[in-house]
């Protein structure tokens, strides 16, 4: 058949794509682009409703009677959230090191020969570290949500509660998916080892993880720090 004569050589891997790029990587960037819009809509909602709650607790202001039954202090805990922000930033560092370890697995000694070099070259270590740091961030979020509920702020309490829990809850759900994704990669790495041929699938998960990080960078400033 005439068309088969022009078909790409299957033994050389991917058939050529119209863009010359792998569709999976295009798909993850398109997905991240759409996620930008999702999170911006949630952040917009939070900012539009900011300062319009008629009853407390409030994020940065003291709530006095009669707005609140008793005097309530500002509810956001900046020191705790700062630590959780640092944890998420460090998880991004661990993720790039995991990707570097996978990409360079076929180059023995690329990271050096000492104990630190061996640690740098361990994709399992960095995947595990990223998952642990992600889970730690989720622990901080669970603590924050629980303490807010104990202080009288629920998703139904006021506009601040509704928009805050929706925004940070969506972000937390994304982090949870990311942690599960990382644990899946770690399981594959433990079972058969991840090597340079797997760099793309690790790269895709890394892009998702870093996106979750940059969303938190925006949330931390716009929700927690700006009064």
């Amino acid at each position: 058949m005439a068309t088969t004569a022009h078909a790409p050589a299957v033994t050389h891997g991917h058939p050529p794509t119209t863009t010359g790029l792998d569709h999976r990587k295009i798909a993850i960037w398109a997905f991240i682009g759409s996620e930008c819009m999702l999170f911006t809509s949630l952040i917009s909602t939070y900012l539009v409703y900011k300062g319009r709650s008629v009853s407390g607790p409030f994020p940065h202001e003291v709530c006095n009677p009669p707005q609140c039954a008793t005097t309530l202090k500002p509810i956001l805990n900046i020191p705790i959230t700062s630590v959780s922000t640092f944890v998420l930033l460090m998880s991004s560092l661990a993720m790039v090191l995991a990707l570097a370890a996978v990409e360079n697995k076929d180059k023995p000694g690329w990271a050096g020969t000492g104990a630190w070099g061996r640690a740098l070259a361990s994709s399992k270590l960095w995947l595990l570290m990223t998952a642990i740091l992600g889970a730690t961030f989720l622990g901080f979020q669970a603590y924050e949500f629980t303490s807010f509920v104990h202080e009288g702020l629920t998703i139904r309490q006021n506009l601040f509660g509704s928009s805050f829990f929706t925004l940070t809850g969506f972000h937390g759900a994304h982090v949870t998916v990311g942690v599960l994704w990382l644990l899946t990669l770690l399981a594959i790495d433990m079972r058969r080892g991840l090597g340079p041929k797997d760099a793309l699938i690790v790269d895709i998960s890394a892009l998702y993880w870093h996106f979750v990080d940059v969303v938190w960078i925006a949330i931390f400033t716009l929700v927690y720090l700006i009064r």
Partner: protein, 119 residues
């Protein structure tokens, strides 16, 4: 198990490189400096939050927004490798991001703290 040279789609590592998917990424040294810069900016952000005079000034919000934007850009460029990647990926990310930011600004002018009350 030894690594074979082809993935589930039959593509080898060199094929990925040929298709512009795998690029030379920054070294550990670059990643270390990026992490340090991100940490320092975060510390400064939290520090200025606790300076009442600065919080009351007009510089507070722009300063925080700029620092946040710098952190955002650093992560996207170095950790997400967008600085080194194909321009199509850059377009797929910055296009929707630009639309989203413009929409946010418009919403803030229409309904938020920047709203202009006519009449």
């Amino acid at each position: 198990m030894p690594h074979d040279t082809h993935d589930a789609h039959g593509a080898s590592h060199s094929d990925h490189k040929a298709m512009g998917e795998v690029h030379e990424h920054p070294s550990w040294g670059t990643y270390k400096w990026v992490a340090l810069i991100l940490t320092v900016i975060t510390v400064i952000e939290v520090w200025v939050y606790y300076i009442p005079v600065f919080v009351a000034s007009r510089l507070f919000v722009p300063t925080l927004l700029i620092m946040s934007a710098v952190k955002f850009a650093i992560v996207v460029m170095f950790y997400m490798h967008l600085k080194y990647d194909h321009k199509l990926f850059r377009a797929l990310f910055t296009g929707p991001l630009a639309i989203a930011i413009v929409t946010l600004i418009i919403l803030m002018f229409l309904f938020g703290h920047l709203s202009i009350h006519a009449g």
